[in-house]
């Protein structure tokens, strides 16, 4: 078992013929992901790389290929619309890689998904990977190894850094999930922690948070109340000044709220081992496994 994706994942790629979409579709196929369809309006009927059928709409793609997961690489201006379309086509898992969706668009997207029972991962995220099984998104497959550590993170390259430390020191991963750096996201830390707690192939979880919001504090409460598996935590942005967006739209200290110090304290109170730097991940995990 793994979390959210596995060998049963049948993927439709929205924006498959675009620059990013085509590059990452080839990467995903190379990794073994079952990419069953692509969507680019106006290019329905074509074949991508002579293999993957392209449709004009997600509804057509789902009807013809039984796709059960969608990944979105379309430009920001049309990304919210792409999420609506995937949900409307009945896709239960939607992964949005695109960065730059307006927050007010997300206030309308999220209730729409909720009513249809669809799960969104992202937006503004690297997607997810279950090593040696399936990858949906842009996480480089070559840095991951199959194993029993779950990873959940608001970041992209920082996740790669920490996964790289795990893999090179003999700790493989069950699933790595990038939940995204925006203030409004579809899947939060608690959703992922809960899935890892239930997953029989995950023994421990690494949670990588950052400044901004209170998702990590709520996750810490959840760990204390509902998790028996060890959790290791990291917070990026200890040196970030208040009131400035640190690259990610959601990484901002508002007034005195959302600081790294307050999140690290919440982790410590909940019994989460707090990493002071990325290189602490393996020693802290080994102490607890």
């Amino acid at each position: 078992m793994s979390v959210f994706i596995d060998q049963q994942t049948r993927l439709v790629v929205q924006g498959i013929t675009g620059r990013d979409g085509s590059f990452h579709t080839r990467q995903m196929i190379g990794y073994g992901t079952k990419v069953v369809a692509g969507v680019t309006p106006g290019k329905g009927g074509q074949l991508f790389d002579s293999v993957v059928p392209v449709f004009d709409t997600v509804a057509d793609a789902v009807r013809e290929t039984q796709a059960n997961t969608a990944v979105i690489y379309v430009p920001a201006a049309v990304a919210a619309s792409a999420i609506f379309e995937a949900a409307d086509a009945g896709v239960p898992l939607i992964v949005c890689i695109t960065e730059g969706i307006a927050v007010l668009d997300m206030t309308r997207v999220l209730p729409y998904l909720h009513e249809r029972g669809a799960r969104l991962i992202g937006p503004n995220c690297p997607g997810l990977i279950s090593p040696a099984r399936s990858k949906v998104g842009i996480i480089p497959g070559n840095i991951c190894r199959p194993g029993r550590v779950g990873v959940v993170s608001r970041s992209g390259t920082l996740t790669y850094e920490i996964v790289h430390q795990l893999s090179t020191q003999g700790l493989g991963q069950s699933t790595c999930v990038g939940i995204g750096g925006d203030p409004l996201i579809g899947t939060n830390f608690i959703h992922c922690l809960s899935a890892f707690q239930a997953d029989t192939e995950t023994d421990a979880v690494v949670m990588i948070g950052e400044i901004g919001g209170t998702d990590e504090q709520q996750a810490a409460d959840f760990v204390q109340q509902a998790m028996t598996k060890p959790v290791i935590g990291f917070i990026a942005g200890q040196t970030a000044p208040p009131g400035r967006r640190m690259g990610h739209a959601g990484a901002i200290i508002s007034g005195s709220s959302g600081t790294a110090a307050e999140k690290m304290a919440a982790f410590a109170r909940a019994g989460i081992a707090v990493m002071k730097r990325p290189a602490d991940v393996v020693p802290l995990l080994k102490e607890r496994l």
Partner: protein, 379 residues
């Protein structure tokens, strides 16, 4: 993107919210002329900068007549408030205030909805009220599918006014503020204070609007309100080059791909006893030109004593970054030491390119940060 008070007032006025008159001056003569136009009676002269606490800093002054307005403008124009130089003042009639309250809208991350906040404790720092007496703030999460409903607005307005006519006027203002919030793509819109005057009218005396940067591409009329003179020149240059850059006080210049890794790199600089000079995310694309721009921006800061590259190649190709470093250092020789760490996609090629150009390349993040901190201290 922050808007100035006068820009926010214009937006509210366009949405039918009562806003007292007032005009912007960039010179003392203009301030005098506006005060004269506004007629007899006192005026306020208010600094237009992207900083709170303008009053405490001496940036808001009451003037009895046009001559005094000009004198205040002379002092306020050019003044520095929290690092921002004042280039404009708003001149507005002094209001005859009977009561002050607060009305604001934000997007709440937990409920994932726009939340209206009101408080009868207006005219002061709402964050302070939230921290000290949270019971004085009333909150309502709005369902974005239906918007702020009339009875919801009136229910909140009745927390601010006993008089039903004033409550109705305030409820109408709240619904208009909610409409404006979505219309301009705001992440924050507040009226502080919302005042009642002695003749019973309700009006928005001061306003603050922050626009979600992700809205700007599709709202050119809002993007045009950006005041680049109110921003650090290095940050303007970075934005134009497609980089995210925030200047800090330390000596170790940082150039990293990805926001999370960039923050973690800054934190590690501090962990090893140094101080980061900046946050800089070169983004996920493989474009040597971005590296050139990044180095230009970092080296323009005289307090930088060493530069650290930390690249984890996923989509970003290490060889592209290496090529960018070589191109940039050929175009303008660096005056400070450079420490480069690259790992991931095309790492071997990158090391080869850098070694040929005489730059040592590291693969371990901790080792690179330690070296950068040591070199910044030695310089």
């Amino acid at each position: 993107m922050n808007l100035h008070e006068y820009q926010a007032r214009d937006i509210l006025r366009r949405h039918g919210i009562p806003v007292p008159p007032g005009e912007v001056a960039t010179t003392t003569d203009e301030a005098r002329a506006i005060a004269a136009r506004l007629g007899p009676g006192p005026v306020v002269v208010k600094a237009q900068v992207h900083a709170g606490g303008r009053g405490k800093a001496g940036g808001v002054k009451l003037a009895a007549n046009p001559a005094e307005a000009a004198a205040h403008a002379a002092k306020i124009l050019g003044m520095t408030i929290k690092g921002f130089t004042v280039r404009r003042v708003l001149v507005a009639p002094a209001a005859d205030i009977a009561s002050e309250s607060y009305v604001g809208i934000i997007v709440d991350r937990t409920s994932q909805r726009p939340v209206l906040m009101v408080s009868a404790a207006g005219g002061i720092d709402i964050e302070e009220v939230a921290a000290r007496t949270p019971e004085k703030i009333h909150r309502l999460a709005v369902d974005p599918r239906y918007g702020l409903l009339a009875h919801q607005a009136l229910g909140l307005a009745l927390k601010l006014h006993r008089d039903i006519a004033q409550a109705r006027a305030t409820a109408d203002i709240m619904q208009r503020l909610y409409a404006a919030f979505y219309a301009v793509g705001a992440s924050l819109a507040e009226i502080n204070p919302l005042v009642t005057t002695r003749d019973g009218a309700v009006a928005a005396l001061d306003a603050k609007i922050v626009i979600d940067d992700n809205e700007l591409d599709r709202r050119p009329e809002i993007a045009a309100l950006r005041d680049t003179s109110a921003e650090a020149p290095s940050e303007v240059a970075a934005r134009e080059a497609g980089l995210t850059f925030i200047k800090l006080d330390g000596a170790v210049g940082c150039c990293v791909n990805g926001a999370g890794l960039a923050m973690a790199t800054m934190d590690l600089v501090k962990y090893y006893g140094g101080a980061p000079a900046n946050f800089l995310d070169i983004g996920g694309s493989s474009n040597p030109q971005k590296v050139v721009s990044a180095l230009q921006i970092i080296t323009a800061d005289a307090s930088v004593r060493a530069i650290l590259f930390n690249i984890f190649g996923g989509i970003t190709r290490c060889d592209d970054v290496a090529t960018g470093i070589v191109q940039a250092t050929r175009a303008f020789p660096l005056q400070v030491p450079l420490v480069i760490r690259l790992t991931g996609t095309n790492e071997e090629l990158a090391v080869q390119i850098l070694t040929q150009a005489g730059f040592p390349a590291l693969t371990d993040m901790d080792e690179a940060v330690k070296q950068a901190v040591a070199q910044a201290k030695a310089a």
